[in-house]
Amino acid sequence: MANLHDVPLQTLLEAFLFATDRPLTLDELMGLIPEDRIPERTVMLETLDAIRQDYKDRESPIELVQVASGYRLQIAAFMGDWVARLFEERTQRYSRALLETLAIIAYRQPVTRGDIEAIRGVSASGNIVRTLLDRDWIQAVGHKEVPGRPVLYATTPEFLDYFSLQSLEQLPPLTGFNLSLESLHGVTAEKKETGESSTDA
């Protein structure tokens, strides 16, 4: 073991900060130093400042910051996004509900959330629409002129790109069903009709 008295205060404080998994207050840091060597508070503050400056000067990927509960070392802000690669999380598979919502928007655009609910027979969660918006697969393209003026959603060029399609026409045809796309219109129109019935005299 190195004789602690040979270790510069700066190195000592760095080691304590590196080794703890939570911020340390000035008092806690002082408490870790051998009694016969505890420096003045001003010396402590100067040394902490020296550490901070040192990392900055060296363009180190870590920085010393002071947060509510004390001092801590953290990944420097300028490195954050690069290091984020380490923390990439693969989300779970998409739900059936999401795929159906996407399909309805793709085949029946533009549609409102009400339309989607009417077709799926289940209330459409705002989360699904938000996920699809976040993914840039759908976009708001306007409002339906019914009471409440619900947002109309349609797919985006990114959606086509993702599936390597040049246009919506290239979506696979819905063959093998007695039910034509017309039926979808039927359902949504019904919805629409009730919507409009209140405006019609």
């Binding site: 590196f18 080794a19 703890t20 998994d21 939570r22 870590i62 801590r72 070392l73 953290q74 990944i75 802000a77 954050g80 996004d81 290091v83 984020a84 690669r85 380490l86 923390f87 990439e88 999380e89 693969r90 989300t91 779970q92 598979r93 998409y94 059936r96 795929l99 159906e100 996407l102 399909a103 309805i104 793709a106 085949y107 029946r108 077709i119 799926r120 027979g121 993914r135 599936f163 399609l165 026409e169 979506l171 696979p172 819905l174 093998g176 069903f177 007695n178 039910l179 034509s180 796309l181 017309e182 039926s183 979808l184 219109h185 039927g186 359902v187 949504t188 129109a189 019904e190 009709e193």
Partner: protein
């Protein structure tokens, strides 16, 4: 060498209940219990005895070791320590070796020497001793949180990026088919099956033709409504025609299809 194996402790036993205790073991009862409890098993105990007596493992005086071993077993039983079955099994093995050692060894000419009755036990003791030492060596290796310490750098400020799942176009199609199948089942329970959008469009077309005009069928479609809108418009026109509410005329000279309201008088 008269050094006490428990050197460092100057405590004497003052009870008479430990007469059977080996003379060199002077430990008070509770400490003795701890001591006996530390043996990892019969091999460990035997190695302790061999070591204490400074015995050559290749030439174990079985009778003496068995006597000592049994006195420890008795002690453990007296102190009602939970005695693992292995200890008693070893006692039996020792007794067997002891009795075989007493028999004269008959080596018939031409035959290999009969194996020393102690050989298997010695092999086991040696093997165990190897791993006992290895365990000790591992214990001495530098290890985490004793000699080595990880760094803890705060990463809470790092944005966590989520990689969204991939999907195949087929999955979208499947989802759509599922929706349509559900709708179809639903439809069978409906009283009217008329697609309402067509009905609606029929009304719209009739309104456009209300003035008694003839219109190019193209004007009944709007460019912005897309394929599905066009299909609805077409279905509406055909439906109106079938219901005899409109006429469809082909103007060959102009190369256009004209749609006009059917007059009641006709």
């Amino acid at each position: 060498m008269t050094e006490n194996p428990t050197a460092g402790s100057s405590i004497k036993v003052n009870g008479a209940s430990f007469e059977q205790m080996p003379p060199d073991l002077y430990i008070p009862p509770d400490a003795l219990e701890v001591f006996l409890d530390r043996f990892e098993g019969p091999l460990d105990l035997l190695l302790y005895l061999i070591r204490r007596e400074n015995i050559d493992i290749l030439d174990i005086p079985v009778a003496e070791i068995t006597r000592q071993y049994m006195s420890y077993i008795d002690m453990m039983q007296t102190m009602s320590l939970e005695l693992a079955a292995e200890y008693l099994l070893m006692a039996a093995i020792l007794a067997e070796i002891k009795s075989r050692m007493l028999l004269p060894r008959v080596v018939k000419p031409g035959e290999a020497n009969e194996e020393d009755p102690r050989a298997e036990l010695v092999r086991r003791l040696q093997e165990y001793e190897q791993f006992r030492q290895a365990a000790h060596a591992i214990e001495l290796l530098p290890r985490m949180d004793r000699e080595h310490h990880l760094l803890h750098i705060d990463t809470s400020s790092i944005p966590s990026r989520k990689i969204p799942p991939e999907i195949a176009l087929d999955a979208v199609l499947d989802a759509m088919k599922g929706v349509m199948q559900r709708l179809e089942r639903l439809k069978h329970h409906r009283i009217f099956q008329e697609p309402l959008s067509v009905r609606e469009r029929m009304v719209e077309i009739l309104q456009k033709l209300g003035a008694g005009r003839s219109l190019n069928y193209r004007t009944l479609f709007s460019a912005g409504e897309g394929r599905r809108g066009a299909v609805v418009a077409l279905l509406a026109i055909l439906e109106l025609c079938r219901d005899a509410m409109i006429n469809i005329d082909i103007d060959e000279a102009e190369g256009q299809i004209l749609v006009s309201p059917r007059r009641q008088t006709e």
